[in-house]
Each structure stands twice: as C-alpha cells, then as structure tokens.
C-alpha cells in the first residue's frame, strides 16, 4: 500500500509537465480564438480586443498558464466552439465509446496473443512458432487505417456479414438507456438482447482492427519471456522433480514470464490510444478521437487541449496501474523501491 501511494506521488511532476506541454502546444495552434468568437462581420477591432481581454488572451504567457491551471483544477477544460458545449462535458459524453472500443480491442489482443506466444515458446521452430513470428512481424507492419478498410471491404461489402461501418449502433435503432455509456453493458442491463447483438456486431470490426495491431508486440514478448523462463534452472529442477507439465507451464513459468509482458502492456496501450484516433475515423466511431479530429480541422483548440490532457492522464493512470500489477506479480519490485 505504501508502495502504491509513493508511486502515486511520483507521477505528480510528470502530470505538471504534461500540463505545460499541453498548454504550450495548444497555444501555438493557428487561428485566433477571439476572431473566431467574433465571427460576426459587424464586429470591429475594438470588439475583438474586448473578447481577447475577456478570454484572458492579452495577459502575459505565464499568467495565462496559471489561469489555465486554475481552470483545469476546477474541471473546466474550456468551451468548444464547434459544439457550443463545455469541453469537459463533451469528452465525458464521448469517452465511454472510445473506452469500450479500446477495452474490447485490448481484451481481444490478449486473448489471441498470450496463448499464441506461449504455444510458440513451448515448441520452438514448430509450425506454431513460425506462425507466431509471421503474425508478430506482420502485425506491427499493418497500418490500422488500411487494415480497417480491408476488413470493411471484405466483411461489409463482399461477405455482407458486418453492418455498415458507421457509428456504434444501427442508425435507426434506439440507443440503450445510458447507465455506464458502454452500449454492450447498457443493452444487457436493460435486457435488450437484440440491441446487444447489434452493438456487438458494430464493435467487432474496429476492435479487431486495433487488436491486430496490438497483439504483435504482446505475442512477441510473451514468446521471448516464456522461452527465457523455460530454460531457467528452477524449471529444470521442477521438471526433474516430476511436476506435471501444466503445473510447470502455468504455475511456475507463466507467472515469471508475465513480468516483461506486463511492462510491454504500457507501450501497447500508448499505441492503442494513438491508433484509436485513426480507427475511429475509419469506422466513423463517435468517440473522443473523432471529436478531436473535427475540432482540429475547425481550428477549435479547447477540445484538442482537453483531449491531450485526458489522453495523458489516462496513460499515466494506466502506467501506475501497471506498476502496481507488476508489484503484485513480483514482490521484489516493492522491495527494490524501498531500498
């Protein structure tokens, strides 16, 4: 517990840095927000100046930064010009869509990658091993936006199994009453089996697209880690003592092999959050990625700022979680941190 707390405090400087970077980058975004607000042609230079003053854009940079930090501390991420809503509310409304997609893809990737990697490591140079190598090298080479399009063409246009790749649910269907915002969960909660199937059909292709990309490093790492562990002395000792193969593989080897895999998860998640933007665009998925892209094209910078902040916060939180999981799997990590 103490370890968790200390790790938690450890991210504070990183978060502060994230605030600075986010602020500086969005500050450089082209387009004067005051002119945007004052899009009414009858407004003159004086009116624009008044709006600049109201938005605090006439203050020196460092004061603007502190204003910004104070706003963020109050949960205020500014106002989106395109939707006319507070950015924080927009993001919270759209976040479940993105999370649902990312979590499904992540689960899918793990379900495929871990068994594949283990199977490959148990029989090096077998057919399974070569399959693992090809999949893991090909997987990282697949641009998500191309895989997505190919999947759409094959499963929607040619085979006609998948629904039209637009949004989270059929355009004419009523979305489920919002409880968690995850359509898959909400439809089940309201006992709507048809809605669940519909939502599941919509999510399969985008989730698969992302999973294909994410599973490559995972399978590769699992294979390498398992290979390393299986050749260790304690495994040989276990074998010599006559333990069953499944005990050796799952109880002894797997837990040890998980350590480097768990560390890779952080990197995989970073890729996935980035790939999210591309996948959401390809499948017209109404998540925070599409929302930010629309804002970016409209030179509407508050949403971009909010999005970057949110992404970084999520990613930092996930890394923290990974550290904790790591300590749970390997108690030595905690000791090292104390030393």
């Amino acid at each position: 517990m103490r370890y968790v707390l200390r790790r938690g405090f450890g991210v504070a400087p990183t978060l502060a840095g994230v605030l600075v970077v986010t602020f500086l980058i969005t500050h450089c975004l082209p387009g004067d927000p005051a002119v945007f607000f004052a899009s009414n042609p009858s407004m003159d230079a004086g009116a624009v100046a008044a709006i600049r003053e109201k938005l605090g854009l006439d203050l020196p940079l460092w004061r603007q930064f502190f204003l910004y930090v104070a706003q963020v501390a109050h949960g205020d991420l500014g106002q989106s010009i395109t939707t006319g809503q507070p950015v924080a509310r927009d993001l919270m409304r759209l976040l479940p869509a993105s999370m649902e997609l990312t979590i499904c893809a992540f689960a899918l990737a793990n379900l495929i990658a871990l068994p594949l990697g283990i199977a490959a490591a148990l029989r090096p140079r077998s057919l399974m091993d070569h399959a693992c190598r090809i999949i893991s090298t090909a997987g990282v080479s697949l641009p998500t936006f191309v895989t997505g399009l190919v999947l759409i063409y094959v499963f929607y246009y040619l085979a006609d199994i998948a629904p039209e790749p637009i949004g989270r649910i059929d355009a004419f269907a009523v979305p489920p009453p919002r409880v968690t915002g995850f359509f898959l969960v909400d439809t089940l909660l309201s006992g709507d089996a048809r809605g669940f199937v519909m939502a599941a059909k919509q999510i399969v292709l985008p989730a698969l697209t992302m999973a294909l990309f994410a599973l490559a490093p995972l399978a590769r790492m699992t294979r390498a880690a398992m290979l390393g562990v299986l050749s260790a002395d304690f495994i040989r000792a276990a074998r010599a003592n006559g333990l069953s193969a499944s005990t050796i593989v799952f109880t002894y080897a797997f837990r040890n092999a998980m350590l480097p895999v768990v560390t890779t998860l952080g990197m995989v998640f970073s890729y996935m959050l980035g790939a999210n933007v591309l996948v959401e665009k390809v499948f017209a998925w109404p998540g925070i990625g599409s929302y930010t892209l629309d804002a970016l094209m409209a030179l509407d910078y508050a949403p971009v700022q909010g999005f970057m902040l949110m992404m970084a916060a999520i990613f930092v939180a996930i890394n923290l979680l990974i550290d904790v999981v790591y300590a749970l799997i390997d108690p030595r990590a905690e000791l090292d941190a104390d030393a």
């Binding site: 969005t26 080479s141 930092v316």
Partner: protein, 281 residues
C-alpha cells in the same frame, strides 16, 4: 569484422525472410530514386474518361476518382514517404544520441532535468503528441518530420544514456581521462562509437514506425497536402470508395505502405540479430 560478416551470413541463412525483406527494400529504394522516370503516367495528370477505372493492362493499379493513374502515384510517392521517415529517424537519432550520451556521461542536474522532460514526453500517447505538434507548428512536410522526430527522441535519449552509463566507469574511459583527454573527446571518440551499433539497430527498428506515423498523420489530413502523391493521403482518398466496389484506390497505396514497413521491420530484426545475438526474440 570477419566475425560479423560470418554471423551475418548465418543469420541470413537461418531467416530466408530477411533476404526477401532486403529484396523489397532495394525495390523501394529504386522506386524512391527513379520514381518519376519509372512511372508510366504523370502522377498529377487527371483524365476524367478513365475515372474510377478498375486495374487493367494499361493502368495496373486502376485509376482514382479524378482519373489519375494509381500505379504512377504509388511509385512516385515512395520518395516522399521514405524521405520523411529517413529524415525524421536521422534527426532524432543524431540529436537523441548526443543528448543521451552527454547526460549519461555527466549525470548530475542536466541528467535529472532531461530525464524528467523525457518522462513527460513519454506520458503522452505518442501518435497524439505528433498530431498536436503538426497541428500547432503548421501543416507542412517539414513539420511532419519534426513531429515524428520528437516522438522518436525519447527512445534514443534513453538508450544512449543507459549505454553510456554502463561504460563510463570502464577501464578505457578512465585511461583516456588519465591520459588528459577532454570530456568532449572521451564522449565522441571513446564512447559514441561504442554505443553506435545499439543506436543503429534502434534506428532501423524505428524506421518502419516512422513511415506508419507519417502516413497516419496525412491520413487524418495533417502534413502532406492533397494533390501530392503520398500513401496516407491516397488511402484516405480511397476510403470513401471502399464501400462502393472501388477497392483499388485505397488498397494499392495501403499495400505499398505495408510492404515498406514490413521490410523495414524485418531488416531491423535481422540487424539486431547480427549486432546483438543475445537479445534475439
């Protein structure tokens, strides 16, 4: 050197796939060098009579919605895509290794502060950071290169720092110091050449990723602009036609992109196997 060559031959013999990758790589370099001379048509010339035509003998990869020959566009685009990736990787590689080696050698305050900055950069999902950087700096090819270089930078800094840190206490470094060499000389003459192989492997592994990244940026409309032939943009152009039968507009540039990244990754793996056999996975 002879050992290296021998092990290179062994690695290649074990992985025929690496040879294939080398073949693809040469093909790409050829396209990049001679692109406009190989292309049978002008990549920008529009011809509405053949708009949306399927692949045929005259137009191998078909034609897009404006009647431009896709094969020519894919070939000509090679130069731009490879240039962006190479420039970004070289830029981040050189800057990152010098910074990383310097802070790994000197430690102290510079080390602590640069490491903090690297932590902050790594706290962003990297593609998101690249997206925001291009949007902020402006929509030009140079800025795509800078953005891709920035998100690659942390890897080189960390690697060079770690590698220098291991070596800074070694005998030959101490000998150089006792012999009166300046810090700069120790850094550039004794340390950097020794950590170079690891950095080169990292760079070759990053190359594929840099291509993906640049194409991804132009796919969402950042960076390279419309009429310019570039794989990411061409895929974006074709995306709207994928649900109405015209698969070739998006598929061929997508395939070129995949092929490029695939061969870069395989070459990177092969190079690592040669340079550092222990880290084979």
């Amino acid at each position: 050197m002879r050992d290296r060559l021998a092990s290179a031959r062994r690695v290649l013999a074990e992985n025929p796939l690496d040879l294939v990758a080398l073949g693809f790589f040469s093909l790409l370099v050829l396209c990049a060098a001679l692109g406009p001379c190989i292309a049978p048509y002008d990549p920008l010339a529009t011809d509405t009579t053949i708009a949306l035509q399927a692949p045929s003998l005259a137009h191998w990869f078909g034609a897009d919605q404006l009647g431009r020959d896709i094969f020519s566009r894919v070939v000509v685009a090679t130069r731009l895509d490879l240039f962006i990736a190479f420039a970004a990787v070289v830029l981040s590689g050189v800057v990152g290794s010098v910074i990383g080696a310097a802070i790994g050698y000197h430690r102290g305050f510079a080390d602590a502060s640069v490491s903090r900055v690297v932590d902050v950069l790594m706290a962003f999902p990297l593609f998101v950071l690249a997206m925001a950087t291009v949007a902020a700096l402006g929509n030009t090819i140079m800025n795509v290169i800078y953005a891709t270089a920035i998100i690659n930078l942390p890897f080189y800094i960390r690697l060079a720092r770690a590698e220098t840190n291991i070596r800074r206490g070694l005998g030959y470094v101490e000998a150089a110091r006792v012999g009166g060499s300046s810090h700069a000389r120790i850094l550039f003459v004794c340390l950097l050449p020794n950590i170079l192989p690891a950095l080169v492997v990292q760079a070759s592994l990053n190359l594929g990723w840099a291509v993906l990244n640049a194409a991804g940026l132009s796919f969402i409309g950042l960076g390279v602009r419309a009429p310019t032939p570039e794989w990411g943009i061409m895929v974006a152009d074709g995306a709207q036609f994928i649900t109405s039968r015209q698969w070739w507009i998006a598929l061929f540039p997508g395939l070129a992109l995949m092929l490029a990244v695939f061969s870069f990754n395989l070459i990177g793996d092969g190079l690592r196997d040669i340079v550092d056999p222990r880290s084979r996975t």
